[in-house]
């Protein structure tokens, strides 16, 4: 395809601009600078003739550029006329001209100077909004739960079982494996360091207290936030995007009751169960390492275990589990419902669902620690 050209000649009727070649999309940049040059060189003249007769091809790009050139001439008071040979492109020129002159020129806002400060500023009230939406979601879920208790037939047991299967049963293998490994690692580290003091046997106390009180429930909660909370957010978010949730509302059904309550109930049931089995797996891992690496026979481990832990350590761990699960579930659902139309927003909310859930799980764990210390458990 031929490159675009713009030549100036002085004919009987005055200055003449003749466009040649292909004024098309693939040559747009060249044509743009040609038009700029042509305008700069001839802006002083009183009248100009534009000749398009020798053009090979013209598309909207070229038409826009030629139209813009003509408009600029008119703005500085130059009379512009077209030769007859240009008539074949008239319809296209008119169409782009009409479109290009319809609105005011776009005002491109520059980058704000204190973008980082602005982000922080916006994040502060957002924190309050987050807190409110957490409370709202908790309230809506409680109301839905009470309604379900009042009308047991409206309770979606099938849905709860389905989600329990997904976030509980199907999560079991990976949760057990990770707990087992963490228990084993704690035991190995304990033996390695305690051996210097000849205090090998206290590794049982270390593993048992740490796992039962803190590690198992934290690990399972964080894993659940990443595995199940994120999938809740993504599911609800894409339902929101495709107006499925609006469809439910118009049918007079409550999305909280149908979609959210079963999910949250399922995770609240699943996390304590996972925590229980996770604790056992971690203790098993600790015991196995103590035996193989530390040379402590299983019988010694078990008898030491009985001395080291009281039932209260176990209870402290287990009592936290449903609260952790509730936080994860509520955050996941409220983030899911806040997804806007775009795919990007879905990703953002899924990320923030996991981040917020993990953050709050750890904060909650700290609060529990303070509480249990205060009541002396």
């Amino acid at each position: 395809m031929s490159t675009p050209l713009l030549t100036q000649t002085t004919g009987p009727e005055g200055l003449r601009l003749e466009a040649r070649g292909a004024w098309t999309a693939s040559h747009a940049q060249a044509a743009d600078s040609l038009a700029e040059q042509g305008f700069a060189q001839t802006r002083g003249s009183t009248s100009i003739v534009v000749d398009l007769a020798a053009l090979d091809r013209l598309d909207t790009y070229g038409a826009f550029l030629i139209g813009r050139l003509i408009r600029r001439f008119q703005e500085v008071g130059t009379r512009v006329s077209m030769t007859d040979g240009s008539a074949r492109f008239k319809a296209l020129l008119d169409a782009t001209d009409e479109a290009a002159t319809r609105g005011p020129a776009p005002a491109r806002s520059g980058k704000p100077r204190f973008a980082a400060l602005e982000t922080i500023g916006r994040a502060v009230p957002q924190f309050g909004v987050d807190l409110m939406s957490f409370a709202e979601m908790l309230g809506a879920l409680s109301a839905a739960l009470i309604r379900s208790v009042a009308h047991p037939r409206r309770f979606r047991l099938t849905s709860v079982i389905h989600h329990l299967d997904r976030v509980g049963w199907q999560a079991m293998p990976i949760m057990l494996l990770i707990s087992f490994l963490i228990g084993a690692i704690i035991a190995q580290q304990g033996i390695f360091h305690f051996r210097k003091f000849g205090a090998d046997v206290y590794v049982v106390d270390l593993v048992a207290v740490l796992v039962l009180r803190e590690i198992a429930v934290l690990l399972i909660s964080i894993m659940s936030a990443g595995r199940s909370g994120s999938s809740y957010t993504a599911e609800l978010g894409s339902m929101k995007m495709r107006e499925e949730i609006d469809a439910l509302r118009t049918m007079g059904l409550d999305p909280v009751e149908i979609l959210l309550l079963p999910r949250v109930l399922a995770i609240v049931i699943a996390v304590p169960i996972l925590t229980f089995f996770g604790s056992i797996a971690a203790l098993y891992g600790g015991g196995l390492v103590s035996w193989l690496y530390g040379g402590m026979s299983p019988a010694v481990f078990v008898s030491r275990l009985q001395e080291a832990v009281s039932i209260s350590s176990f209870k402290v761990g287990m009592i936290k589990a449903p609260f952790m699960a509730l936080v994860i579930g509520v955050i996941a659902c409220s983030e899911g419902l806040r997804v806007k139309g775009s795919a990007e927003s879905l990703g953002q909310h899924t990320t923030s669902s996991v981040v917020k859930a993990i953050f709050l799980v750890i904060v909650l764990d700290g609060l529990f620690a303070v509480f249990f210390a205060a009541i002396g458990v």
Partner: protein, 261 residues
């Protein structure tokens, strides 16, 4: 006289199926350069499948498709990917990129395929949006903030972003009010006249068929059962074509405006 024009799309003995179901059964269709062809057919009859097969989204079982003198089977990959900038596709739901604004959606193909400055790209994209009737105020909206009709227009602007030689339109006027649909039709007609576009349009809109289409092809039972101008189509004896154009809904159309309103 049509036959003397060069071919834009040539389809020969095309077979497309999913599993055991054969959707397109030895279908042949020629589309000439610079014409607007309207494809009609029953819902679920394979119109969209044909369109998607032509643009290479669905694999064919056998047959030959030649678009702009390029046969995807016989050409190098470079050629087949280069053809992406010589056609534009308007999907039924618009298929706008949800994380980009209307303006950025139109600029996307320009950015990928053309080496032009940001300012020029802004100006041209805004002009294209104005051409399809999207005001500058709406250019910075995201697809989720656009109405159905506006989404269609932005999608058309994006399909036309590179001034392609062929545009494929999948039900361009569905979901638009009659005035907007009429505007859309005349827009397509204007663009086709001014740019010499070839338009391949899947449509159910009888008004579009009457007013803008140069030629109509009717798809039934996986084959093109009739093709030609509206008069030729109306003369076709095929029962499905008769039912489509002579049905109750069709009969109220094509009459003088006085009787219709």
């Amino acid at each position: 006289m049509l036959q003397s024009r060069p071919l834009a799309i040539g389809i020969h003995d095309l077979v497309v199926g999913f599993g055991r179901q054969i959707v397109l059964d030895h279908l042949s269709l020629d589309v000439y350069e610079g014409e607007i062809i309207g494809l009609v057919g029953a819902s679920g009859g394979g119109k969209s499948v044909l369109l998607r097969t032509i643009v290479g989204l669905i694999a064919k079982r056998s047959g030959r498709i030649i678009v702009l003198n390029i046969d995807a089977d016989a050409s190098a990959d470079v050629e087949t990917s280069a053809i992406g900038r010589r056609w534009g596709v308007l999907f039924q739901q618009g298929a706008l990129f949800s994380s980009l604004t209307a303006l950025q959606n139109v600029q996307f193909p320009m950015r990928e395929h053309l080496a032009i400055s940001r300012e020029l790209m802004d100006e041209i994209a805004l002009t294209k949006l104005e051409m399809v009737g999207i005001s500058r105020a709406d250019a910075d909206k995201f697809p989720s903030e656009l109405s159905g009709g506006m989404t269609k227009r932005v999608a058309l602007a994006r399909a036309l972003a590179l001034d392609p030689e062929i545009v494929f339109l999948d039900e361009p006027t569905s979901g638009l009010d009659p005035i907007a649909a009429g505007d859309f039709d005349s827009l397509i007609k204007t663009l086709q006249r001014t740019l010499g576009l070839t338009v391949f349009m899947v449509t159910h809109d009888l008004d579009s068929l009457y007013t803008v289409c140069d030629r109509i092809a009717a798809l039934a039972n996986g084959k093109i059962v009739a093709s030609g101008s509206m008069t030729e189509i109306l003369a076709s004896p095929h029962p499905w074509v008769q039912a489509y154009f002579r049905g109750a809904r069709a009969l109220t159309r094509g009459q003088p405006p006085a009787e219709r309103r």
